[in-house]
């Protein structure tokens, strides 16, 4: 046991002092909404396996204002995740060389965001087509 009490600088709120890290914490924080949303879907899937009454109870619960409110925040969080995912993709993927030139960052980000819009519209179209 040592009587030394070395000074350890507090790290409390370190990220709040720099806008760059505030943004970082927000985009990392979107994972909480991704996890919670996956949890809601998982609960629904288990209810589906339990039968029609259980499924309908889960479906009715989604109309609860708390769930609707959560999904509004989750929509914002996932849209932000989507935006930042493609914004940092030029730095998270290996460099792409086209005709001896490195593909510019905005092409990768723009391409990713365009792919997200197209994939989302396809998903909506497929859901629409399946139930119509």
């Amino acid at each position: 046991m040592s009587k030394r009490r070395p000074y350890v600088r507090s790290m409390d709120g370190w990220w709040r002092r720099n806008p760059y890290f505030v943004e970082y914490m927000i985009h990392e924080g979107t994972a909480l909404f991704v996890a919670a949303y996956a949890g809601i879907l998982l609960a629904g899937l288990v209810r589906l396996a339990e039968g029609e009454a259980a499924w309908n109870a889960w479906l009715a619960a989604l109309k609860n204002p708390w769930y609707v409110g959560f999904h509004l925040f989750a929509l914002a969080a996932l849209a932000y995740h989507s935006f930042t995912w493609f914004k940092i993709m030029p730095r998270t993927m290996p460099p792409v060389i086209v005709e001896g030139q490195r593909l510019p960052a905005w092409v990768i980000t723009g391409g990713g965001l365009a792919a997200a819009v197209v994939a989302s519209l396809i998903l909506l179209g497929v859901v629409w087509g399946m139930v119509r």
């Binding site: 790290m11 409390d12 990220w15 914490m25 990392e28 924080g29 994972a31 909480l32 991704v34 996890a35 949303y37 996956a38 949890g39 809601i40 879907l41 998982l42 629904g44 899937l45 288990v46 589906l48 396996a49 029609e52 499924w55 309908n56 479906l59 989604l62 109309k63 769930y67 609707v68 959560f70 999904h71 509004l72 989750a74 929509l75 996932l78 849209a79 995740h81 989507s82 995912w85 493609f86 990713g112 792919a115 997200a116 994939a119 989302s120 519209l121 998903l123 909506l124 859901v127 629409w128 399946m130 139930v131 119509r132």
Partner: protein
């Protein structure tokens, strides 16, 4: 004697993180809109979009099963990896215990999803 190099398991978790991040970036917002807002509030889509019959038929189809499992499992693995690596940033000195909790919950969720998809039948 040179000790044999221990293989890292990091690429597996990183691949699951990346796959889940990509899937949620591509269709996450639209999925939340459909299941969490459009259907409960009766916007845009037909009222019976997520009726028991419709969703059961989807979950009994092999492609539907694959889609549901991919969404739930990969979203969970993505979030688990990101939350685990953010613990340090919020002052939690994460070790093996935190790793077990984060990845363990994702694994449990994946197993439950797989079980439920088998239980709904074919």
């Amino acid at each position: 004697m040179k000790p044999t190099l221990k293989r890292s398991n990091a690429p597996i978790f990183w691949a699951l993180f990346g796959a889940g991040g990509m899937l949620s970036a591509l269709i996450g917002p639209m999925l939340v809109f459909i299941t969490g807002l459009a259907v409960p509030l009766g916007l845009l889509l037909p009222a019976d979009t997520m009726s028991y019959a419709h969703v059961l038929a989807f979950a009994r189809n092999w492609a539907g099963k694959a889609f549901i499992l991919a969404v739930i499992a990969l979203f969970l693995w993505h979030a688990a990896h990101r939350i685990f690596h953010s613990l340090h940033d919020v002052g939690v000195h994460a070790g093996t215990g935190a790793k077990l909790v984060c990845y363990g919950l994702a694994l449990v969720g994946t197993v439950i999803a797989a079980w439920a998809l088998l239980a709904v039948g074919f």
